[in-house]
Amino acid sequence: MTDFLLELRSEEIPARMQAGARADLERLFREQMKAAGVEHGAITVWSTPRRLALIAKAMPQQTEAVSEEAKGPPEGAPDQAIDGFCKKNGVTRDQLEVRDVKGRATYFAVKNIPGRDVKDVLAEAIPAIVRAFPWPKSMRWGEASISTESLRWVRPLSGIVAILGEELVGCEVGGVASGYATLGHRFHHSGEITIGGADDYAEKLRACHVIVDHEERQDMVRAQAQDAASAAGLELVADEGLVIENAGLTEWPVPLLGRFDESYLDVPPEVIQLTARTNQKYFVCNDANGALANAFVCTANIAAEDPAVIVDGNRKVLAARLSDARFFWEVDQKTTLAEHAKKLERITFHEKLGTVADKVQRVAKLARWLAEEGVVPGADADMTEMAALLCKADLVTEMVGEFPELQGLMGGYYARAEGLPDAVSDAIRDHYKPVGQGDDVPTAPVTVGVSLADKLDTLRSFFAIDEKPTGSKDPFALRRAALAVIRLVTANNLRMAVADGDLLDFFADRLKVQQKEAGVRHDLIDAVFALGGEDDLVRLLARVKALQSFMDSEDGSNLLAGYKRAANILKKEGYEGTDRIARTGEEDPLALVDDPDVGSIVAERGKSVSYDREPAEQALVDALAQAEPAANAAIAGEDFGAAMAALATLRAPIDAFFDDVTVNDADPAKRSARLALLANFVAAVHKVADFSRIEG
């Protein structure tokens, strides 16, 4: 058993592609080995900007010999059949073996596939892996690229090291032949390094200033960047994305702290951080008070004699970037947001939905309505409308043009700088929220009004032109908008009909997904949704919540058992009433006296029957007479806990009823009355939720 080393060297691989490339390399290698029947031990994959490496432990020298046999026709079969069998199995007639099968002499073709040298298998596998490599973007290069069929790689492939144990796996792809030689750090080491095998690979590279293990480099960046900040009495603003990116840009990472001119701190801290991060891949630091400090940490790829030279160079670049940011910051403020907003007339929102200015007008109208109608309690109508009118104005500012991710935030800054009320500035800043699942949900009334109006307008507008999400396609992020509405409405307890028709169904779907993720049992959500017609999300969720705690109680689970038993009997007896009751979802299904089936229930509902009820039967009738109006009243008052409590009183009577009373009595009058009683019980339970959807 020996270890195998593969290194694919190339010109600098984009940092963002390295994680995917490692996974692809391992997957392709496993596939190739599996197809060739090569067992292997643990696999390690590493990457640097200039190489992908794979080490597979415990490889055999040879694959196992395999013997395959196929049963053919019996002896004496027509020649045509025997020849056909030989052809199919690639053997000649004299190679066939004759064996006895249940007393009949039968031809067998036996193929012995000898074991192969794993080295040979690898020599074929490596070019196949390289050719099949799914880079997100790949290119051609060099002389061979006179044909478009030439090898594609992420950047020119420049070397292959392939060693099994200590032996070279000889192969060639795209004009690059395998060997023992690799290269060290681009600047710290000149000339080739000869690798002995998987064992000495990482250490030989380390000696030549290459840390081949990406995780080790990430650890270095993380720890040393923190150290650099601490040494300056600052705290590094942690950023794992930057850690990974800087590790992907370096073979020998050296984090260095630098300072920029304090005067740039006039620019909003988010702008400074974004400039440093996006354009330069620098970390930023906070001072002891948690405010952004005039410091950055860059990650060099060399251990320079005088790191100050590198730091100074980086400082200049950042200064130029910040100078630009300050230029945008100052230019943008020469114009009021109201003036900026006029330019939105030039930006198309959607060809069928007009310009962004048109959208802003719709949002402002809706936002004002939400405030005036008290849907968003405490929202001042004038302020809400003003914030809505200005909320998209920053889209045409220079700063947002440069950094689109600062939309909203910059509008907030500019609004404040203009002296607009804080509530308006905050609303402009936060009206895109909540963006993702972890994002905060606004609670400031004006912000809630603008945010809700913006998202509802988007949803209603796109549904109106029939641009609904389908499958994985959701180009206008309507699912996200619906989820944001759900979170705004529920977090702020906003009582409103969010939608109707298709859009309400869409909300229902999103709500189910959201509640499932929040750990609510999906069957309980279904049980409440099945009632239908609910467009008030707050009320709907209150019902689900009450149901969930009820079902967690003993009364709840017992009542469910009783319900299922009753429903089964009704179903078995072909009793039509229950389905209809469940389906209609009306407040009082028994009011539908025109329906002959329901009419019969009404007839049976009266207090008097033609026989003497048994005690348990009478007890259930009485309990229903108490519980049903109580549940109805509680539901009308939106006290779903009380509604559940009312249902809970039915638990003992229904259990006793099943214990003591025979439904399927020989007397048709008794049978019919008792079925009707069960139907009434089921109907009462359905007032709260469709228990037939509940599992358990």
Partner: protein, 288 residues
């Protein structure tokens, strides 16, 4: 610095060419790059190209952003295997030691919608500053590059700032007698920024755009790809000026870019059409 680069690349087999005498946004527009990237014939050239990017004007207020600056262009077709090493050697030649300065190849895929061109490569960083754009052209004018050319575009001012150790481009010494870059160009930047952003007659520019476009089409009809391409360069620059004047809306922008792209593509197509028989005869693998 320019002379050192000329010497260096000349020794690597490059023709040393002169700047193209038209206003253009990047050295890539020089016909020695764009048109010569097409076709199978080897082509190695190096030249300085002044560039104009009206929207980058900062009235002389930004330490390294200019609306007019100089690029040093190298085009090597087919891209040689040692191209990265040669490039690093060229940096050493002009005094940038990669053991003192942090040189990095950072992913930057290049795309020029107006040229119908794209390539993969990097922006080369020197201590965090982009000093060179390094691209392997994959397509030009909508055509696959066969073979692929390697393009190096050095930002001369930025490199000079490193070599001279100055923070502000206007402080660069233009000679040893005390003449600075600012003495030569600062007033130019101020006035040109004002003109680009505030003054340029937009009606006249729209008119010029239409005329360049019409002229390009006329040349294409007459089978003259090189003058046609010149008009495409002209239209592209006029478009950039209109952008700087802020008179092109978002929707219109896409339409203008498509127009420029069509002109550039049309020129490349005509260029290809003119030579493809000749190339196919000399390079059968190219035609395959």
């Amino acid at each position: 610095m320019i002379l050192a680069l000329h010497d260096f690349w000349s020794a690597k087999g490059c023709l040393i060419l002169q700047p193209y005498d038209m206003r253009m946004g990047a050295g890539t527009f020089h016909p020695a790059t764009t048109l010569r990237a097409l076709g199978p014939e080897p082509w190695n050239a190096a030249f300085v190209q002044p560039c104009r990017r009206p929207t980058d004007g900062r009235y002389g207020e930004n330490p390294n952003r200019l609306q007019h600056y100089y690029q040093y262009q190298v085009i090597l077709k087919p891209s040689p295997p040692q191209i990265q090493e040669w490039y690093l050697d060229s940096l050493r030649t002009i005094g940038i030691d990669p053991l003192k300065h942090d040189i990095r190849f950072v992913e930057d895929d290049w795309e020029s919608p107006t040229l119908g061109a794209w390539g993969l490569g990097w922006e080369v960083w020197c201590d965090g500053m982009e000093v060179t754009q390094f691209t392997y052209f994959q397509q030009m004018g909508g055509f696959d590059c066969k073979p692929v050319a390697g393009e190096l575009t050095y930002g001369l001012e930025r490199l000079a700032m490193y070599i001279q150790g100055v923070d502000n481009v206007y402080d660069l010494a233009f000679n040893t007698q005390g003449v600075s870059y600012g003495d030569v160009f600062l007033e130019n930047e101020r006035q040109m920024s004002t003109w680009n952003f505030e003054v340029a007659d937009t009606d006249a520019l729209f008119d010029l755009f239409r005329k360049a476009s019409a002229e390009c089409k006329l040349c294409l009809e007459k089978g003259l790809p090189i003058p046609a391409y010149e008009q495409a360069i002209e239209a592209s620059h006029i478009f950039n000026l209109l952008q700087a004047r802020g008179v092109i809306s978002v929707q219109e922008r896409a339409s203008y870019m498509a127009q420029v792209r069509d002109l550039a593509r049309g020129s490349c197509e005509a260029y290809m059409a003119k030579y493809s028989d000749q190339w196919a005869a000399a390079y059968p693998e190219w035609a395959a």
